[in-house]
Symmetry: C2
Subunit: 195 residues, 2 copies
DNA sequence: TCATTGATTAGATAGCTATCTAATCAATGA
DNA sequence: TCATTGATTAGATAGCTATCTAATCAATGA
């Protein structure tokens, strides 16, 4: 799940340096030996070797030994695959998601939320739980909320603030006293744990 | 000319860190405020602020203030444009080229070389000069070359090694003594300067 | 066998960077 | 007016990294 994140980071790290990026450009043009690269880039052969190691690690170079030279060329595939992922918004989302919540929660949240707004209140107990904990997380953090204030916050996410406010109490995420609402221990834990 | 290299490096640097890459993923999903990002990513708000600065610098985020929050969202355009450049081999070549040789030389070399091989020997004096200096650069570096050896090296690049070998002498890039060839001062300068 | 030559590795170093805590800022609501 | 809250900045620090020189390796040709 996290592999793809690490792999992408390795790739972007490889490209995140002017010398290496120029190397990539040079190798895209034609294969070149290390000595040539060093002289074109005005760095020492040792430095070229160092950069090649990082490019290799990212899977960007193909090499062929022809004594006394080693010729390096760009392997476009890795670059193109990765780069295509970044154009696809869905794929980009997965990068973050993969290393965050477990599959189940992500799916539920995706189904019931439309960006900032809740589409509908789930009926199933488990799904309801996931959604309500997310709602909790999205509230501005206050030591306590007045009923009117809390309702306003909820309304920004879903019109039926009455039901949701009531569910917060019934689910023991919040407790109410004198018309004031406060997070319970369980509520605070859900916020912290969820993410 | 170099702007595009620097811009790309800035972009890849922005993406070359697991925390930031996850931020990009999260912001691709929907806009989020700083506090949320901090809690999802398990880092301090200060760290989020730091990363946002780098993402902003790369042109990756759009923000909208809604007291007391600032909401950040991914601006896909920059990412997609840049990333598309990397899929296009020609564009990638330009990255390196732009920050190397002047326009004229690049054009001549592109026209007369097909990767590792010389297509034809230019007739125009200026173009000939550019091409011969490139040939010189591509020879294995030796203190001196025997005629046969030199011919073999040249032949790997173009079949008419006789003409080219002769031109090396006539252009004063090399001098010949006892059937042995050596680079002149001018020859060495051309190699060093050219790149 | 030894000198040459391209590539890599080891070791050093200056400069960068991800992260934190603490301080400050800016807006809000009590 | 003051406490709260989210965001940013200042300053510190541990760890990373681009680069170099020097040493070593590996193949070749004299």
């Amino acid at each position: 799940m996290n592999e793809s994140l690490d792999q992408l980071v390795t790739l972007f790290k490889a490209l995140a340096d002017p010398t290496r990026l120029r190397m990539v450009g040079l190798l895209a043009e034609r294969e070149r030996c290390g000595r040539d690269l060093a002289s074109v880039l005005h760095v020492s052969p040792a430095t070229v070797s160092h950069h090649l190691k990082l490019l290799r690690r990212a899977g960007l170079v193909a090499e062929s030994r022809k004594q006394p030279y080693t010729f390096y060329a760009l392997d476009h595939r890795v670059l193109q695959d990765a780069v295509r992922d970044m154009v696809d918004t869905e794929k980009v989302q997965e990068i973050a998601a993969g290393s965050g919540l477990p599959e189940e929660k992500r799916k539920v949240l995706r189904n019931f939320f439309d960006g900032p707004r809740l589409i509908s209140i789930p009926a199933q107990r488990r799904k309801k739980e996931i959604v309500f904990e997310e709602l909790l997380r999205r509230l501005p953090r206050r030591k306590e909320y007045e009923e009117k204030q809390l309702s306003r916050f909820i309304e920004a996410i879903h019109p039926d603030f009455c039901t949701i406010r009531r569910e917060f109490i019934m689910g023991r995420y919040m407790e109410r006293e004198d018309g004031r609402y406060r997070l319970t221990e369980k509520g605070r834990a859900a916020i912290a744990e969820g993410r």
